[in-house]
Amino acid sequence: MMGTILPVLASLLLFPGGLTVFLTGMAYEWMNRKLLARFQTRVGPRWFQPLADVIKLLAKEEVVPEDVHPGLFTALPVVALAGCLTAALYVPLWGVGPLYNFPGDLIVTLFLLSLLTLCLGIAGANTFDRFSLVGATRAFTQLFSYEAPFLLALLGPAFVAGSWQIDEIMASGAARWVILTQPIGFIVAVIGLIGKLELPPFDAPEAETEIVAGSLTEYSGRGLALFHMGKIIELVLGITLIAALYLGGLYSPLDFLIKTIALLIVIVILEALFARLRIDQSVGLWWRYGTLLVLLQWLGTIFWKGVAI
């Protein structure tokens, strides 16, 4: 009995879930902030900055505002983080193939990753703060417009491989990188990820100059820390997934580092380069172009597959 539980616990708390994914997330957040700072000719944060932020937030007093459902207020960050941690089990983190797999785990992973945005939206709607409410509305709007293209873009490689299982898709794409055959899908996936994570220029749901901190305006201390960690983990998982499916799979830690960091740099460049889009602009952009392009890509792939057979 103990023999079976211990490895499961270890995989959840140490590797690839839990500790490893936290530390990786922090490292990537640091890289993100540091690179952005360098692009803006600043020095940027020190290497331990994300860790200090999280520790400080965890040690801070947490107040549950009036007018909110206290249970929901406390539970949502936990659910969001738990979703992200669970998703870590199905993703080839650090290039050490996914720990668990079953047919269709891609879909489950994607669902688990959407959980964070969903929780963010509900958290905003739960607090009767005006900024939070607007933030929640925007978060949901963005959820609907960015999850779909992201999902479709990731299903492209799955379709080629003829499987919904992450490691099988990875294996089928190893010989020929999917990015070469489905460049549009790749671009949509990267931009979809930025939108999903609410990073600039798609950060309308938490646009500081309009609605302070969006859904999270009323959160502080532990809740904020958990949401924050959920976000950085989702960043890591998102780029891992894209790298695994589009960039020829991840088979060693070195492989993982090179490909994910390259993707991160692309994302940071986009962050630094553009002004924030209004929510109607970012949504319009995706429903009008993103989704359409992916569908075109799909049609192409189907056609090509038909010819090949």
Partner: protein, 385 residues
């Protein structure tokens, strides 16, 4: 937090503490979804009662008080005050002092416009531009610091002239700074007119036609972006602007992009003027002697601050303190336009439109708290772009 449902719609407060406003103002924005249906302004959070305090202080002490009406345009406030008091006393500052005053005023304009560019970019979520323009602004801050010893309230004016002189080393330092800034400004002009993503946030947003701008009484770059010829330096040259004329920068479009373009183009005009002043800097004294008591009389002193026309009305009763000093800052003239322009736009555009007039609440609030009512503007007509 009170419950938020209103009969009229959903109200979002911006300020007095809000990331978009580095200064305290309070806007109540009623939205229908993301569309703004009503805007209400309340000011007065920075109202200190300066005009009353001025009546109890001597003419010289007041110089330092008015310099601190606003930290961004401190020189121009002091300059307007000095020009007015000198006119009342019948004293004219020596030509060299006049030229140095104008030179510092133009340096201040450069600093203010670059500051504004950064803040406006930040409102649009374009932090890279914000960082770049503020990095370059440090050049001008260095110049000002080297000139006067302080970065912000440089206190170059005294009644009757200026305190500091220019030396060759400083002029050299300043010219290098200006050369650098000129190339940077060209780059910024290119960015704000060609960056497609940024244009999405500025083009055809907050359009104000010429007649609307006139009716609302806007001043400064906000008015000039709507093709209104209103620049005191050009209309009614004061101080050294008579010898060193400036050409007026106008734009036809009246949208946010035009306001960016006008302000950046004004930078080039400032660089040109400063170089010209340095070439033809008159020799002579730095200050004329001023009497302690100022002769009885009233005068109006109008100067062009970075944000628009600054209006001082000074009345002396012949004693060593002023009878009345009335300060009308440019922001209050332009504030009306924000209220009108914002309606019908997206919520996300409101900070941009607000930033578009370059509001300065501490200037503004030395006096006001305004409650604007829409019905008053009914005859202005819709201003949606």
């Amino acid at each position: 937090m009170e419950k938020t449902e209103h009969k009229k719609g959903f109200t979002i407060p911006i300020g007095p503490q809000h990331p978009a406003l580095k200064e305290p103002g309070h806007f109540r924005i009623t939205v229908d979804g993301e569309i703004v249906t009503d805007v209400d302004v309340r000011l007065g959070y920075a109202h200190r009662g300066i005009e009353k305090a001025a009546e109890a202080r001597s003419w010289v002490q007041n110089l330092y008080l008015f310099e601190r009406v606003c930290g961004i345009c401190s020189h121009i406030h002091a300059m307007a005050y000095c020009l007015g008091v000198e006119r009342l006393a019948g004293v004219e500052a020596p030509p060299r002092a006049q030229a140095i005053r104008v030179l510092v005023a133009e340096l201040e304009r450069i600093h203010s416009h670059l500051l504004w560019l950064g803040v406006a970019a930040h409102e649009a979520g374009f932090d890279t531009l914000f960082m770049y323009s503020w990095r370059d602004r440090e050049t001008i801050m260095d110049v000002l610091e080297r000139f006067s010893g302080n970065r912000v309230n440089y206190s170059a004016n005294i009644l009757g002239g200026v305190k500091y002189d220019l030396d060759d080393e400083f002029v050299q330092f300043m010219c290098e700074g200006l050369d650098y800034l000129e190339t940077r400004s060209e780059y910024y002009l290119e960015v704000v007119t060609t960056d497609a993503m940024f244009l999405q946030r500025t083009q055809n947003i907050g359009v104000m036609t010429r007649s609307q701008a006139e009716l609302l009484g806007t001043v400064g770059p906000t008015a000039r972006a709507s093709n209104v010829h209103r620049d005191i330096r050009y209309e009614a040259p004061y101080s050294a602007y008579k010898q060193f004329p400036i050409s007026i920068v106008l734009d036809q479009r009246g949208d946010l992009e035009a306001r960016f373009v006008v302000r950046i183009k004004e930078l080039f005009e400032s660089y040109r003027l400063i170089r010209r002043i340095l070439e033809e800097l008159p020799e002579g004294d730095l200050a004329a002697r001023m009497p302690r008591k100022i002769a009885e009389g009233e005068t109006v002193s109008r100067v062009e601050a970075p944000r628009g026309e600054l209006f001082y009305f000074i009345k002396s009763n012949g004693s060593d303190t002023p009878e009345r000093v009335r300060v009308r800052t440019p922001t209050i003239c332009n504030m009306m336009s924000v209220v009108k322009l914002a309606i019908g736009h997206q919520l996300a555009d409101v900070p941009m439109i607000l930033a578009g007039i370059d509001p300065c609440f501490s200037c503004n609030d030395r006096m006001f708290r305004v409650h604007l009512d829409q019905s008053v503007y009914a005859n202005v007509g819709p201003l949606k772009g």
